[in-house]
């Protein structure tokens, strides 16, 4: 058990085994290398929180094959960085942005996160395919959904 102290907020107790290592960090956050998954109960959306930078907190959700089609392919470099993961042990997550659009939660399909569950190692994998949407309408904002209903 590791104690990660966020000076202004709280102490979060983290099982070492539940920490995911991102050697390259996330894009724009190269020094935020260890993440934990925090869930407050809204469906399958979780908060991927860096343990050393409180502002590096991403909402993520599993890649939905029914909506998005097959999961992305890893490039040779990405394969190597993720230590040649078994395809069945590779977890693909989409980064959500609930802050930029008042009506929609947006999903960035161009740079999903891949985690090798065997090694707990992850990386944000920028995709070369320009067809992938940076602002995919993932879901209506929860308040908006109620109004629409």
């Amino acid at each position: 058990m590791t104690h990660k102290e966020q000076a202004w907020k709280a102490i979060v107790e983290v099982e070492q085994a539940e920490t995911f290592r991102f050697p390259q960090g996330m894009v724009g956050f190269p020094d935020a290398n260890d993440y934990v998954m925090l869930n407050s109960g809204h469906g399958d959306i979780v908060c991927m929180q860096a343990t050393n930078r409180v502002e590096a907190a991403f909402l993520v959700t599993p890649w939905d094959k029914k909506r998005l089609g097959k999961q992305p392919d890893l490039s040779a470099d990405q394969q190597a960085c993720l230590q040649d993961p078994d395809e069945n042990k590779l977890l693909w997550l989409v980064v959500l942005n609930p802050f930029s659009d008042p009506a929609w939660v947006l999903a960035n399909l161009r740079a999903p996160v891949a985690i090798n569950l065997d090694t707990s190692q992850g990386m944000q994998c920028i995709q070369g395919n320009p067809q992938l949407d940076l602002h995919f309408h993932w879901m209506r904002q929860p308040g908006q959904a109620q109004q629409a209903a």
Binding site: Q24, C47, A80, F99, I126
Partner: protein, 75 residues
């Protein structure tokens, strides 16, 4: 910024591990670069990298846990 003149087939190195080779130059249009770098160093087109950077900053500009709790209460 350092500006170096190179011909097709010539290269530059950055540090010990990175080599960039000019593989082809299209007249007045594009240069083709071959890049050899350790897998630990991500290589991207700058404009794409900057877009993703911008998206990640936008995705973390608010209190994600507060949003998640609010969404759970609303659902």
């Amino acid at each position: 910024m350092i500006v170096l003149r190179r011909r097709v087939g010539q290269a530059i190195c950055i540090g010990n591990d990175i080599r960039i080779v000019i593989t082809e130059v299209e007249p007045n249009t594009r240069a083709h670069l071959g890049i050899e770098a350790p897998t630990s160093i991500p290589v991207h087109r700058l404009e794409i990298y900057e877009k993703i950077h911008q998206e990640n900053c936008a995705a973390t500009q608010g209190d994600t846990m507060a949003w998640l709790k609010g969404a759970a209460n609303d659902s």
